[in-house]
């Protein structure tokens, strides 16, 4: 599939392609800067290949150019095609593809803030990550920006879109919210109860994670990856480790692969249980919430018993896993079988309550074309009829040797998302059982030592969806680490999901999308 695809691209755009490099399942095509819109549009619309990430690198030391990478995922052939363009330091401008591919919107704005590369023709060129008090001309991810720099604060203003008309009111919510949650600003425009527009503003918890990666050693970077998004620790750590292992060209021991599957699925189970509990809370069904939370707590305590950490931290290292969990097999299986029984009973019960169903059916609908246009990922995408799952489409760890079904719903509402999560909990428990029954003997990690220079993608299906890492290593240290958290794709979907819904339904819509602030803001 990949080879045919590249051949077809070359036939179509032969004179625009300057260079081709293939490593593993990734093909990097450097194309002429002016041809980016044409080629990306062709791949995205004509060949129907999703655009999964856009990121820039500062390689001025090598050839005086910044590079912009457009990552396309060939789901059917387990391959990635990365279109690269060179942007000269002297004219840091390139053509925006957002007017053709809506997914590119936030990526291009992020690159503008972080590298100072201007996407010409972007429909919304406001700042995204840097706030208005950040001075012009200071770009944190450029190599000449020292991590210790403290730029002066300047005056500035951020202009929100306004909806005007008789009886239209604005409701600003956040960034400080009631309860212990993270910061984000939501600006609703309402006419009576129904929401007619929502604009979100995030990045209040921007910590410069990608810059931090460039300034710490490889062994410590795993711990940073674990903390990018607190409740998706394993998915992030595994994605990072896999990227480095792919660069090193090593295959980790079989036992480590199976242990990673167990950990990844335990993480999915506790996240989904927490989300189902949250939905019950937000429709004021306290008893259902208490039961779902009880089940989540059982998983967290199981995590603590088998790994020493409730959130499964410190369980991944480059080259495998540092701690074995094989001796706790019986305990895991016993706890999970009890949880599965209780969970099925709980779901049957929740779905039989009319007052709950009334709140979640048809609420917060994300239509299939919207989800596709924004490249929504994970359970949210699968609830809107998008049949994608990284575990199946780009198999990693021990997933190729396991059986599971990918749950897809068409409704796109809160109900569909709840059903997808409920199915995934049961599938995950099945996966953990399979992995533990066929856990091979042997080592749990190998010492990799020096990592050769190179770059590669690492990917996992986190509980929230597809998580991507692109790591570039030179002289055994990280030169660039691009993190693409699933929430970065899914946040914009909320602006569409709430339309025509009433303000009191916003909390359940938000909960059903299960979005991370920290993973998005980084």
């Amino acid at each position: 599939m990949n080879r045919e695809f590249i051949a077809a691209l070359k036939k179509e755009f032969g004179n625009n392609i300057l260079d081709e490099i293939t490593s593993l399942n990734e093909t990097y095509l450097t194309v002429k800067k002016e041809a980016n819109v044409k080629i990306c549009d062709h791949i995205y619309h004509h060949l129907d290949i999703p655009l999964v990430s856009i990121f820039a690198t500062d390689e001025r030391k090598k050839d005086g150019c910044f590079k912009i990478h457009y990552v396309f995922s060939l789901d059917k052939g387990d391959a990635f095609v990365i279109i690269k363009i060179n942007v000269d330091e002297k004219s840091p401008r390139y053509n925006s593809i957002t007017h053709k591919i809506a997914t590119a919107n936030w990526y291009e704005r992020e690159i503008q803030d972080m590298f100072g590369l201007v996407p010409v023709g972007h429909p919304d060129p406001r700042r995204l990550v840097n706030f208005e008090d950040w001075p012009d001309g200071v770009y944190p991810l450029r190599k000449d920006f020292d991590i210790k720099t403290k730029p002066p604060r300047v005056e500035g203003e951020y202009v929100y879109r306004r909806v005007e008309g008789e009886g239209v009111y604005e409701i600003p919510v956040g960034p400080v919210h009631a309860g212990v949650i993270e910061p984000g600003h939501f600006r609703f425009s309402v006419a009576g109860e129904p929401i007619i527009n929502l604009e979100i503003r995030h990045f209040y918890t921007h910590k410069g994670v990608e810059k931090l990666f460039e300034n710490i050693s490889l062994d410590k970077a795993v711990f940073l990856a674990e903390r990018v998004s607190g409740d998706n620790s394993v998915a992030h750590a595994v994605a990072f480790c896999q990227a480095v292992e792919r660069i090193a060209g090593v295959d980790i021991p079989g036992r480590a692969k199976y242990i990673r599957v167990v950990l990844l699925e335990l993480e999915r189970v506790y996240n989904h249980l927490g989300d189902i509990a949250g939905i019950a809370t937000d429709v004021a069904f306290a008893m259902g919430a208490a039961h779902a939370n009880r089940l989540k707590e059982e998983i967290l305590q199981l995590n603590e018993k088998i790994t020493g950490s409730r959130l499964l931290r410190g369980m991944n290292t480059i080259g495998g896993v540092p701690r074995d969990i094989g001796d706790k097999k019986d305990e895991i299986l016993l706890t999970l079988s009890e949880i599965q029984r209780d969970f099925r009973e709980l779901m049957e019960y929740l779905m039989s309550i009319p007052s709950l169903m009334d709140r979640i059916e048809t609420t917060g609908r994300i239509y299939n074309d919207t989800a596709k246009g924004l490249h929504v990922v994970g359970p949210v995408a699968r609830a809107s009829g998008i049949n994608r799952d990284t575990r199946r489409d780009h198999p990693y760890a021990a997933y190729p040797e396991t059986n599971f079904k990918v749950s897809v719903q068409k409704g796109g509402d809160v109900y569909a998302r709840t059903l997808v999560r409920a199915d995934e909990v049961c599938e995950s428990i099945g996966l953990i059982e399979q992995a533990l029954w066929s856990l091979p003997d042997g080592e749990i990690n190998i010492n990799i030592g020096e990592i050769p220079d190179g770059y590669a993608l690492g990917y996992t299906e986190a509980p929230r969806g597809e998580t991507l890492y692109w790591v570039m290593i030179e002289n055994n240290s990280i030169v660039r680490c691009k993190v693409r958290d699933p929430s970065f794709c899914n946040w914009l979907a909320i602006e569409y999901a709430v339309l025509d819904n009433i303000v009191p339904d916003f909390p359940i819509i938000n909960k059903s999308l299960s979005l991370s602030y920290s993973g998005n803001d980084m």
Binding site: I216, K220, F223, L224, R227, M287, H291, R294, E297, E304, K305, I306, T307, G308, S309, R313, G314, Y349
Partner: protein, 112 residues
């Protein structure tokens, strides 16, 4: 309604009387790291291994001081792994709340 009552009674109370009854962490739990002054050789391996950099070694007034701050500790256990003398152990202790940052410092010292 009857269902809810039945399920609630069946499940019973799930919470414990913490903190009156202490909740003891399971074996293998990675909690508060303890420094053992009699074993430590002040080699400084833990200071370079610590990902958040919250262990540091200072010298002055004829003594070496190894300090660990629980403020930024991520309980990863790398200090325990790299210590050749077994002078750092992660314990099951997890109640670390404090009003000041100074309360969260622990140090051991030795005359040089």
């Amino acid at each position: 309604m009857f269902d809810i009552l039945k399920k609630t009674l069946e499940t019973g109370s799930q919470t414990t009387k913490y903190p009156q009854i202490p909740d003891i962490a399971p074996a293998g739990f990675r909690g508060k790291p303890e420094l053992l002054s009699e074993k430590c050789t002040f080699c400084g391996k833990c200071t370079t291994a610590c990902p958040p950099g919250v262990i540091w070694l200072a010298e002055g007034d004829g003594e070496k001081i190894l300090t660990l701050s629980y403020c930024g500790c991520i309980f990863c256990g790398r200090c325990e792994e790299v210590c050749p003398e077994g002078a750092i152990k992660l314990s099951g202790e997890y109640e670390l709340a404090s009003k000041t940052k100074e309360d969260l410092l622990t140090s051991i010292r030795r005359k040089t």
